[in-house]
Symmetry: C5
Subunit: 354 residues, 5 copies
């Protein structure tokens, strides 16, 4: 799971709205993809210049402008000027450690979410910030990295018959959110599989690495919950439709994504409970095995220490030890030893240690 | 307890409202049972075609259409078209991992609940999703599997004098909910019996399997609570009667089911507290027994180690060891040994170890 | 503490309002006591027939009808018909595992509380359900068992000068509630005494039975809290006077009982915190004593093992061991042994183990 | 810390408003101090008769009547009659285990608070109940015991220039509350010092008494929090000025005391967290030392047990043991022993036990 | 982390509004810095006399008066008189242990915050109180100590083009708050680095000092959370703009700082969770290693105790022990010993101890 806190300290002392990229640079070049559609047409274009973007601003069709890479301050500044976006919004877009949130700036809604990417081999799950600016006839989306999570939405836009072509930017925003939340389900399913595997291990031969992984997963669940909870709030506020930018027909769909985020939270909490339970089971079994070990040790010590002592006594070299000279002394001592051992064993049987 | 999360990932990328069955297929063939009743008559019919269903839609009597099996997308699509149901509702019906909820679509109310089936031999408790669409004169109910939980309601409908024949679909919905919640009580009672049995075991001879079962039950309680809590909310919203589809006379009955769900939650929490207490008791007794064991070991070691050492000293083969030649040397050493052992025992008695 | 959950499963499948007794039968015969009073007179009567009750219904005086025993469905049905009580209320009266609650049925208020009886020798504390139906000029109270908890209220009614004779059924309900809550104080005081005793034991010589009793009391506190919390809510709702059946002059008294229930909850929580603290103290002292024991063992082993080894070396029977022939060999070895033991002791003193 | 629950059981069965003293009797004789002041004058008087009090009731000046000792039912009854106080208020005044609360009786406000006295040598912190009746031109205050906590307020009243002389009973109530809350700060500071001392001890040489004291302080923090929390609520309600008895100019001062109570709660919670942290540190270090001890034991046993065994083998008295006759047998065996010990030590070094 | 509670006890008994400095004195001489600015001009001045301050009060430009050092009661009194500030506000300014809060005095807003200074070598993080009085055309800020945290804001004021020159005292207050919250990020980042380092240590070779530091950091997180939480509330109230002193254009910036405080809280909670997780990991690994150690001990003891016993038996000096005379007795016994040891090893292999 990516580190929660990015280096913000380089911004200390700067005035608000100062555009400084906070985060790791993941892409060399910023890529802009524009899709402009109405029920009849759907135009698609890749560009790197903002000038071109401006032409779409005043078009009657719906324009979706997706930006991959958020480290180019100049470009974002220009986009902001073109679409009339507040400098604080631009600052937030460039700061890759925002909490999910919804802000209403009157002319547009600003929505921040976190996408969850499945972990690659040997790596960790990874968060990526998704910001959206939802205007009356446009939607700007900003990603830290180039990816294909929104490819499904693009497909639906290209295929002409989908409902999405008849709807405005609010429905487009819903579709993107839906794709983001669906991403959580994918990751959660693979975590669920791992938990099931770990559960088997913990019951049979738990190893230190198993326990460590459980601790790690538990922490990831805490992180995950922290990311989805504010997203849930943001979507709830969007659905309440305080802003005229969200249409009534879209609300029912937003309610659906909202339900999905609740389900994500539910699953995350269930996983956390399961992991906690597994750790408890593990600790109980560790302490049980410890008990086992101690019993064996005590048993052995308690039986052989007295016997060794007796043997030691008759190993002493005193000149005058009458027993040593007895005819059956040796056998008598062996008998005594057997009796002592027997008594001990009976005692432990009574105490249920055997 | 059934796994909380079903495979949703196969739906990733599909548009909203896409009808794909999410869950395990439990039935070969979908079965539809129709009951149509008014105070005078009660007609009952089994069918597999939706066409027939449509005839009941516009009848003046109340129609209860129960569908066992939710994996047939075509059939559900058709039903949806016939009764005017939103595609998101249909999607939810086919997704067998919904959180209990109530949604008001204006023309109808959509209610999702989870039924709890008692565990079969060697198996686990099992959840089943129950969805209801409550319209002005019809109620559609959807079950994952065929079962006879609603048989009691059907009996009352057939017997003509019950109040239910004079009431609308809202009262029918209440009756079904009541049957669902009653099912929880049954399962909880058998769990209560098991807890009582486990409690006896834990006090007498706890075994690892006992502890494991307690951990497992504790987790089930967490799952159960998660299922009933949102059901409680849904029923509370139903009872508040924001929708004209719920009549005032039904509200008092809904309040009653609501009380029952609270009682279920109460019981579940009590069980969880009891199980936690049992684990605490167990851990205390484990650590007490550990202490016991350690004391015995220490006692034996502390008494016999010095004695063995003394015997060892007089087992040395030095040529010049005056004590060895003494007339009463042997007896003197035995006396010293007894004194050492005695001192130790007194010391331990003082320390309350004996 | 009585088991929280009674057998409800025998009611599964019955229609709502079905009168089936849920609980243990505690009395052979139901007893009805009627008191009818106004500022001038106070009439008292014992009966077993409901017919007689009816005559009081329309009297101008206040009628208190107390029923001991709730298992006689016929009698309760008749009473319900006579006083116009909803079938769901009757069902709740006969179900001895209700959560405390207040329900407003318009014509009457229905209040359920739980009385707490002190534990008898070797037994446990015991809950008893008290249901009240508060009408405009009557109050019906239902107890599971015959008892004398309400005797104080009866005394005050008989003695003519008490305020209670001038008040309506709402004040009577308050008086009964007050008696119920006072009962909690009595039980809590005796539990408080026991906790104090246990605290002494845990600090001096804790035994497994002490710890077990603490665990048990802790669980009882959880149960108690669960019973009083909803009672508090019910009284709060009563005091808010949404119903015209509660007069303003009674509200200030209800506020007083409300305060008492809060005090009960406070005490219960304090007791729970104390018990948790005692368990923590116990566990700390157990682990400390364990440490103590281990230190003694290690000390003894660490001193005597090397010594025994040295003795063992000179007990070997090699023909050529020069030391054995030395004049002062024996004393030299004893000296070495003393030096080893001394070093060990100094070492442990430094490590603060001695 | 005083026991939370006083004996209330002697009141069981009495009608509401019955004046029975609940608490320990701390004073022989009740003392009444009257101060009557307006901007010009300030009269002060000690008395024991209530008759005298009555003369002040109708005076135009503000009258502060302070009663030390709350066990004299007759006197309190008379005072109540004189100032028109409800019997439930009088009952609360005489019951020394009230939760802090504010009650609005229309003609007067009734406020209960708990004063905290610092612990005397070898004793415990002690709570004392302070009740106030705030009327239009009088304030009655009731203390369990005679003390000088309010002496500062009296001084300010005597010295003519303080703001307090120009204000009504609401400001006087504020001043008394301020003195009560200031008392908490004093006690908390001395507890803070003790915690600091305990923290040093726990890090250096923790003793069982240290741990026990920490447990005790932790519990006291829980008690303290329970006393201040409802006081905070009561002051908040007072500040909201629902009653005309509190003037607007006083509200800003009440806000100040309110802030102080929040600071008390903050400090109490911080202390609790610190104490919990200290216990955690202690437990970690106990388990670490245990580990240490076990390692030493294992080390010694693992090195000397094999050696002693070897010595034992060559101490056997078989007639035919070739090694015994060897010229360098003894030295060879010593060499083998050194090798075994060396191997063990290297092994433990590798395992980081040394 | 600085001690949460300053000595307030010296104020006990004083009337409200008494100006007594509570805190450590950190500066010798109080320093006052005045900046007076409007869009055209920006005047800056250092002074020590309050008389000079007064001239700025009625100027049309915005005046920022910063006071370093809060222990000079006379000066603060004079300032208070000059700017019309309530005596309770002045008292709060001089009490260096205020909880962050916002108070609306009508003519001005009073805001208290806590600045967090990074820890110096070997020292601890340190809090400093920042109080602000926000008037219609002035802002007074009070610091405990002289520092340069506000230097960035001053720079922006001097440089003429920044937005800040066109705004009122509310925007200035926002700028100062922003600087305060930015300070938290700096400290949190260095704590984050330390946590990462500790995490590495805990997984490889945990030492007692590591664990102690984790405990300490965990406590600091609790303190931090307690400081930021009320600051969050204060800023939220400021943003809600109940007072006309906060302009609408400033609200969006306040929302931004508000978001930052939430991010601080989020980070603090994440750190706490991480630290808790690290402690859990540590405890698990401690108990695992303990188990390891015990197993080795038990193994060695269980193998060598029986062997040593056998050797002891044949070391006895009985005259009649047939085995001793056997030709192959010695070898036979060695064989028996090998067999015993082998059996033990096989047994432990089966039990998975080896």
């Amino acid at each position: 799971m990516a580190r929660m806190m990015k280096r913000r300290s380089k911004k200390t002392g700067l005035p608000p709205g100062a555009l400084v990229y906070v985060g790791e640079k993941k892409l060399e070049k910023v890529r802009i993809t524009i899709m402009s559609y109405d029920p009849e047409r759907c135009e698609e274009k890749r560009t790197e210049s903002v000038a071109e973007c401006a032409t779409f601003r005043d078009a009657p069709s719906v324009t979706w402008l997706n930006v991959d890479g958020i480290h180019d301050a100049g470009l974002i500044q220009e986009l902001g000027r073109c679409f009339g976006i507040h400098s604080l919004t631009l600052e937030d877009i460039m700061t890759a450690s925002q909490r999910p949130k919804l802000e209403d700036y009157g002319d547009y809604l600003f929505l921040v979410a976190r996408m969850l990417h499945p972990r690659t081999d040997g790596g960790e799950e990874r968060f990526e910030q998704v910001s959206m600016v939802i205007g009356p006839n446009f939607l700007l989306s900003f990603l830290e990295d180039a990816g294909d999570v929104f490819e499904g939405v693009r497909e639906r836009l290209r295929g002409g018959k989908a409902r999405i072509r008849n709807q405005g930017p609010d429905y487009l925003a819903y579709s993107l959110l839906d794709a983001v939340v669906d991403g959580y389900f994918g990751v959660l399913e693979s975590i669920g599989d791992e938990i099931e595997k770990l559960e088997g291990e913990i019951l049979q031969e738990p190893q230190e690495s198993t326990v460590r992984r459980i601790h790690q997963l538990k922490r990831e669940m805490i992180f995950l919950r922290k990311s989805v909870w504010p997203l849930r709030e943001a979507i709830a506020r969007l659905e309440r439709r305080d802003s005229p930018l969200v249409k009534e027909t879209t609300a029912v769909f937003l309610k659906d994504v909202y339900d999905h985020t609740i389900q994500v939270i539910d699953t995350v909490e269930t996983f956390r409970d399961m992991l906690t339970g597994m750790l408890d089971t593990y600790l109980t079994s560790v302490s049980n095995r410890m008990n086992e070990v101690m019993k064996v040790l005590t048993l052995i010590a308690t039986i052989f220490m007295p016997l060794t002592f007796i043997a030691g006594v008759y190993g002493m070299n005193f000149r005058f030890m009458p027993e040593l000279g007895w005819r059956w002394g040796y056998w008598a001592v062996l008998g005594v030893m057997a009796a002592v051992a027997g008594t001990m064993i009976v005692y432990f049987k009574r105490k249920k240690w055997l």
